[in-house]
């Protein structure tokens, strides 16, 4: 059962990374990015293309692909999302939905719906003895890296000047502006960073999961539920909820397989009944 729990945490790592990106983007821009799953998918494909067409190995892809996609995301924000920002958030929501559909379909046309092969990096293909059980090395790596990444983001947000500005801009934009800080210039980089996180999760997923155009669509709705559970404004909440949901899902799969897919939504309904703003969310979510 311990192994299952570990499994759950690994699955939760992906939820956490994606939820983190979503939360950061929402916090800064007020945009619910439905294209997040598509960028995750592009990250995985990026790794595949890097290997297939350019011979770049996993580590190069891990560094390069999130960077490239982050820039792409920043461009998207600059050109389009910014224009819709003053309006009802509904429009950005739908815009990102359209982007997701297009990206998915483009990849489908180019690569078909069947999965592309992507091998695990040779340095990580063995198993690791964790004392109580042995576990595939790659999964341990994923868990470690995502925990580190989430931790690093948390540190940046709480300990650095940049992070302070971002948090202030998120919670009190007018006041921040009044204090002479140019909030606007941080919007684009933060969006790009959120997208880069999604792509990063995608590259991590490539050796473990099927690389196909639909991989993001299936995942994104669960991630939404995770973010609602954690609290939409809260970075910490999203990450914590991500790991928690992963854990609960895996254990649920073991004991109550019939409920496995609905478990996340039942949790969400329960959280909403008790705390409509999510576990760590702020009151603005309510009403």
């Amino acid at each position: 059962m311990l192994q299952q729990a570990f499994n759950g945490l690994v699955g939760g790592a992906f939820y956490a990374l994606l939820a983190l990106g979503l939360a950061v983007i929402f916090g800064m821009l007020g945009v619910v990015n439905l294209a997040h799953g598509a960028f995750y998918m592009l990250g995985a494909f990026g790794a595949f293309i890097a290997l297939d067409s350019f011979g770049l190995n996993f580590w190069a892809a891990l560094a390069l692909v999130p960077l490239l996609l982050g820039v792409a995301g920043a461009v998207l924000e600059r050109l389009f999302i910014r224009r819709l920002a003053p309006l009802d958030p509904l429009y950005n929501f739908l815009f990102t939905f359209g982007v997701a559909l297009i990206l998915q379909d483009l990849m489908k046309r180019r690569y078909g719906v069947n999965s592309q092969p992507y091998p695990r990096p040779p340095e990580l293909s063995g198993t690791v003895d964790l004392g109580l059980f042995t576990y595939p090395a790659y999964q341990v790596f994923v868990l470690g890296v995502s925990a580190l990444t989430c931790g690093a983001v948390w540190l940046v947000l709480t300990r650095t000047r940049v992070g302070m500005i971002v948090r202030a801009a998120t919670e009190r934009p007018e006041l921040t502006r009044a204090l002479g800080i140019d909030v606007g210039r941080w919007v684009t980089p933060v969006f790009g960073f959120g997208i880069a996180l999604a792509a990063f999760a995608g590259v991590l997923a490539a050796p473990m999961r099927a690389v196909n155009p639909l991989m993001g669509a299936d995942l994104i709705i669960t991630v939404f539920a995770v973010v609602v559970i954690g609290g939409l404004g809260s970075v910490f909440g999203s990450v914590a909820a991500g790991f928690a949901v992963g854990l609960v899902s895996a254990l649920g799969n073991l004991y109550v397989p019939a409920l496995s897919q609905t478990l996340v939504f039942i949790l969400m309904a329960a959280v909403l009944l008790w705390r409509p703003a999510g576990l760590f969310g702020r009151e603005e979510a309510y009403r």
Partner: protein, 335 residues
């Protein structure tokens, strides 16, 4: 009373109404009848959603739960009980309303984008439940062989069925219109525009929203029920979030807050999909996605909304009551 309202909306209103009815009656002559029926069903679905989106200001991304849920319920009533199909559709409508009650209750505590996400998640839950409850819904296989019973009449030709089903669709559309043009409808609009003020005036905002949600869900159920009988089939796809997304797109394409815009949006989207499928074009997602983006960026008023806006501008009278995209500062004071 209806006639005075018609008279008030002027000759233009009457003319448009007549044109709409004529179009509805003549449609199966111009298009492959099953496609005509699809357009009618989606038009009602879009109007139902617009009731919630345009007039109450709530974007539900989970209305597929009511469309699809009613499809199954209607199908089961028709299949297992052999009742005439209008009765089955009414049963489906009631089921959709009942389903909307708990979902709405939990969801109307939130607004804006949170409401959208939560309704999306609940609809997915309904999808998974339907998937699991195989004995009743048929699971993957769907509910097959739904009959069209109406006092022994032979309705197997989709051309005749269209006319048999049209009264139900028209009744639904009329109900939507009636709800909007009523004191209740006016309160909804005021809640949409300024919930704080409505609350200050003593209106129980959440209860109004809930009622609007349930009515919207019920009418979506009517549309889904007719759809199921028309196809002889109820499937999981009707509960999937892409169905919710599609009806939202139709409403926006037609014009939010116009009620009839959705019908135009439905006609365009259904025809477009039919055309793409027949032409063997592979990228329907690209087309749909691009359509979404173009509408959102450039065409937010939608077709009907733009037309109304242009007419009003020309008349230089007070601009019409549309749910225009309001400029809004990104972080609102809690409203």
């Amino acid at each position: 009373m209806i006639l005075t309202r018609l008279a008030r909306s002027g000759r233009a209103g009457v003319a448009l109404l007549a044109a709409g009815l004529f179009a509805a009656l003549v449609l199966p002559w111009l298009i492959y009848p099953p496609v005509a029926l699809d357009i009618a069903c989606w038009a009602l679905f879009a109007a139902a959603l617009d009731l919630l989106l345009g007039f109450t200001g709530l974007l539900s991304f989970g209305h597929a739960a009511f469309w699809g849920g009613s499809a199954y319920c209607t199908g089961l009533i028709a299949l297992r009980l052999g009742l005439p199909f209008p009765v089955a559709v009414l049963g489906g409508t009631a089921f959709a309303a009942l389903l909307a009650l708990p979902i709405g209750y939990l969801s109307v505590r939130l607004t804006g984008i949170y409401f959208a996400m939560v309704t999306l998640a609940f609809a997915q839950m309904v999808y998974f439940v339907a998937n699991q409850w195989r004995d009743v819904t048929g699971g993957e296989n769907g509910l097959q062989g739904i009959p069209r019973e109406l006092f022994g009449l032979d309705l197997s030709d989709p051309f005749f069925f269209y006319y048999a089903a049209l009264p139900l669709v028209l009744a639904g559309l009329f109900a939507a219109w009636r709800i909007v043009h009523s004191p209740f409808g006016r309160v909804l609009v005021s809640i949409r525009d300024n919930p704080a003020r409505a609350r200050a005036l003593g209106y129980p905002v959440e209860r109004y929203r809930l009622l609007a949600f349930v009515l919207s869900g019920a009418l979506s159920g009517t549309a889904g029920g007719v759809f199921a009988i028309g196809h002889g089939f109820a499937a999981l796809d009707g509960l999937y979030w892409t169905t919710s997304g599609q009806v939202v797109m139709m409403v926006i394409l037609g014009g939010i807050g116009t009620l009839w815009g959705g019908a135009i949006g439905a006609a365009i989207v259904v025809q477009l999909q039919d055309f793409l499928a027949t032409a063997g074009f592979d990228g329907s997602g690209i087309v749909t996605g691009t359509l979404f983006i173009v509408i959102v960026l450039l065409f937010r008023r939608g077709i009907w909304g733009t037309a109304r806006h242009l007419l009003a501008a020309r008349r230089t009278a007070a601009p019409p009551e549309t749910a225009e995209p309001k400029p809004r500062s990104r972080v609102d004071a809690p409203t």
